[in-house]
Amino acid sequence: MIELAHFQLLGAALFAIGVYGVLARRSAVLVLMSIELMLNAVNLNLIGYAAFMDFTEAQRALGQVLVIFVITIAAAELALAVAIILRLYRNRSSVNMDEIDLMKW
């Protein structure tokens, strides 16, 4: 029987993997993928709560609508981020995050 706790555990695991990816990967593409993982972990949580909590129909629908929004925004964000990464690659022939440090003192 699948319960709310399973959603939460899976969500937390995915989020932790995402955080690890953002912090530890050097490739900008992998960092981007890790961010997507974190977003989807949140989506899992939203879906889990919408399904299992003692809500009215309208509230359940609201949770699911929020998930659709997140997916939409994530797609838009991804398009933008991939474009930035492409420009980055064109300019420096590398997408190594260690070398992107212009925004400092």
Binding site: V22, L23, V31, M97, D98, I100, D101, L102, K104, W105
Partner: protein, 631 residues
């Protein structure tokens, strides 16, 4: 009806004359001088109307509100009482004659118009001071008087000594004025009002009820007296007055007779009811006055510059007025102020006439001028006799009044010292007159000529007053019971025969001394180079004393030392403190510390995304832990 309610017009006319002459004078005939003279003349005419109205109907006070600050109202107001009307007469009369005289004396001056504008400002300030009914208004006029003297003493500011003298006069009197301002504020704190009659009543009632402490009143009045000392050139603030001789001679006449130095005496006279509540301060006033009287008298003996000798004579007589005020002799002091005012105005105008005729100011180059300049010589001699206290002249009566006040209210020692010092004042006046007008002709007298009528007329107009003004001390009718009763309402008139005898004896003694000194000096050559005290056969101590006197007791040197070693040293210390503690530490310090810490802290901005992401992650985890663990 023109009367005391028009008194406010007198200073206003002069102030308006100042504005018109200063702004539009250059396009007017005579560069606007006639406007300034007309204002003084109208003021003098209004004075007579005010006096007549005052004698008929009594005092009056008129005011309009100027500042209303909560409970405190400061007014532009005038008190027209016997004291202020007396001063109005003196100031307008002397200002009028001096300005008429200046037409000739200052002829051809490049800044002729500005000279008259400054004269109008000076007169307006003094007339305002005389009429002011509250201490703030009075202080304002007081400072304007200082400004007027600064402008006129430094009139020939291309000459360096004149510019320096103007600064010296302004700064020296300003030192006293600080005391005056603090004194006024102390009185305000004690009484809650600036109105002069209000302050007097409040202090009187407050002292009785114990609301105002005697110490506060003493301190306030002493500080106010400091201001009076500065303006009236009492020791040690007298240093500015001899230097002020760098100004045009008619200006000296105005300053010495009516406007500048009279202000200090007038201030004490105006606040006399307050001073009478502080006998300790009055004792200080007496002592300062007596010391200045004697001190300046000795200096006037050795000055060789005609105007400087007259300047020390003024300081000496101001000392006598202060002495009289300190001995509760307000009426005597005011009478002496009047008698001295007309006499000294005449002496200075006479000195200007001598300078005009000979082109010299050094008395050693004069002598025997009476043949060439008879009118100047006669009027000058009358003025000198009046100030020397020779019997029927006006200075004699006022001196007798002062002596009587001292006799009645002070220890006999004061009377003895005053009489001794009055010997000096007869001596130096005789010396000046003798050196300038009598004896042998010396170099300056060769081309001497009498001055034009515009200069001699004011002298002739002043002469009757110097001769006979003293007679107002007596009561002539029921309406006028004598000057003392007229001014203060006290019932006292008549002179003391014993005192008359003593002081006449002193005058005769000084004439004999003079004659003994000058006898034979006619023929000797050293008279031409130096006056009597340094004759070669004089004993050593005599020459040494003379050297001290010629160097003016080294007071200027002492002041210079004080400025160099104390004031400037303190100034340098304060400047250093400001530079190091205030500027470098307190202001620049925080800025530097922010900059230095930023040099270290900026390294946390690595520019790498990991760093920021890590900080975010740690932050979120910390917040979560906090939320979870915290109760």
């Amino acid at each position: 009806m023109i009367g005391i309610e028009s008194a406010w017009l007198i200073p206003t006319l002069s102030a308006a004359a100042f504005v018109v002459v200063a702004l539009a004078g250059r396009w007017l005939p005579m560069r606007g001088a006639f406007i300034s003279i007309a204002a003084a003349l109208l003021g003098f005419v209004l004075f007579w109307f005010a006096l007549a109205d005052l004698m008929r109907n009594g005092d009056g006070a008129f005011s309009v509100n100027w500042l209303v600050l909560g409970d405190l109202t400061i007014t532009w107001g005038v008190i027209v009482d016997r004291l202020s009307v007396t001063m109005l007469g003196l100031v307008t009369f002397v200002a009028l004659l001096v300005q008429v005289y200046s037409i000739e004396y200052m002829r051809g001056e490049p800044r002729f118009g500005w000279y008259y504008a400054a004269h109008a400002l000076f007169a307006a300030a003094m007339l305002t001071l005389v009429l002011a009914d509250n201490l703030v208004f009075l202080y304002l006029a007081w400072e304007l008087v200082g400004l007027g003297s600064y402008l006129l003493i430094g009139f020939w500011h291309e000459k360096r000594p004149a510019a320096e003298a103007a600064k010296k006069a302004f700064i020296t009197t300003r030192i006293g004025d600080v005391g005056l301002l603090i004194g006024i504020i102390l009185l305000y704190r004690a009484t809650g009002t600036f109105d002069i009659t209000g302050v007097i009543h409040a202090v009187e009632n407050g002292l009785e009820a114990g609301l105002v402490s005697q110490g506060t009143v003493n301190a306030a009045l002493f500080l106010i007296f400091l201001g009076a000392m500065g303006k009236s050139a009492q020791f040690p603030f007298h240093v500015w007055l001899p230097d002020a001789m760098e100004g045009p001679t008619p200006v000296s006449a105005l300053i010495h007779a009516a406007t500048m130095v009279a202000a200090g005496v007038f201030l004490v006279a105006r606040l006399m009811p307050l001073f009478e509540m502080a006998p300790a301060v009055l004792l200080v006033v007496t002592c300062v006055g007596l010391f200045t009287f004697a001190f300046a008298g000795t200096l006037a003996l050795v000055m060789t510059d005609l105007k400087r000798a007259l300047a020390y004579s003024t300081i000496s007589h101001l000392g006598l007025m202060m002495l009289s005020l300190g001995a509760f002799g307000m009426a005597a002091a005011m009478l002496h102020l009047l008698a001295h005012g007309v006499s000294k105005a005449m002496l200075f105008l006479g000195a200007g006439s001598v300078t005009h005729g000979t082109g010299k100011t050094d008395m050693r180059e004069m002598g025997g001028l009476w043949r060439k300049m008879p009118i100047t010589a006669i009027t000058f001699t009358i003025g000198a006799a009046s100030l020397a206290g020779v019997a029927p002249f006006s200075g004699f009566f006022s001196k007798e009044e002062v002596l009587r006040a001292v006799l009645e209210h002070r220890h006999p020692i004061f009377l003895v010292l005053t009489l001794a010092a009055s010997f000096l004042s007869a001596l130096y006046m005789g010396r000046v007159t003798f050196m300038v007008f009598f004896g042998r002709n010396r170099s300056g007298a060769e081309h001497a000529h009498e001055s034009p009528w515009l200069m001699t007329t004011p002298l002739l107009l002043l002469a009757p007053f110097a001769l006979a003004l003293g007679l107002i001390t007596f009561g002539w009718s029921d309406a006028y019971p004598g000057f003392g009763s007229f001014l203060t309402g006290e019932d006292r008139h008549g002179l003391d025969p014993w005192l008359i005898g003593v002081s006449n004896g002193i005058v005769i003694g000084s004439v004999i001394t003079l004659w003994a000194w000058y006898k034979g000096s006619q023929a000797s050559d050293d008279f031409d180079t130096e006056a009597y005290p340094t004759r070669a056969r004089a004993p050593a101590w005599w020459r040494q004393a003379n050297r001290v006197l010629v160097n003016k007791y080294y007071v200027d040197e002492a002041c210079q030392w004080l400025i160099d070693r104390v004031v400037l040293a303190l100034g340098r210390f304060v400047a250093l403190f400001d530079r190091i503690v205030v500027n470098d530490t307190a202001v620049d310090g925080p800025a530097v510390s922010v900059m230095l810490s930023a040099l270290r802290v900026r390294y946390i901005q690595s520019g790498r995304i990991y760093t920021y992401a890590m900080a975010m992650a740690i932050g979120i985890v910390s917040l979560a832990l906090l939320w979870w663990l915290a109760p």
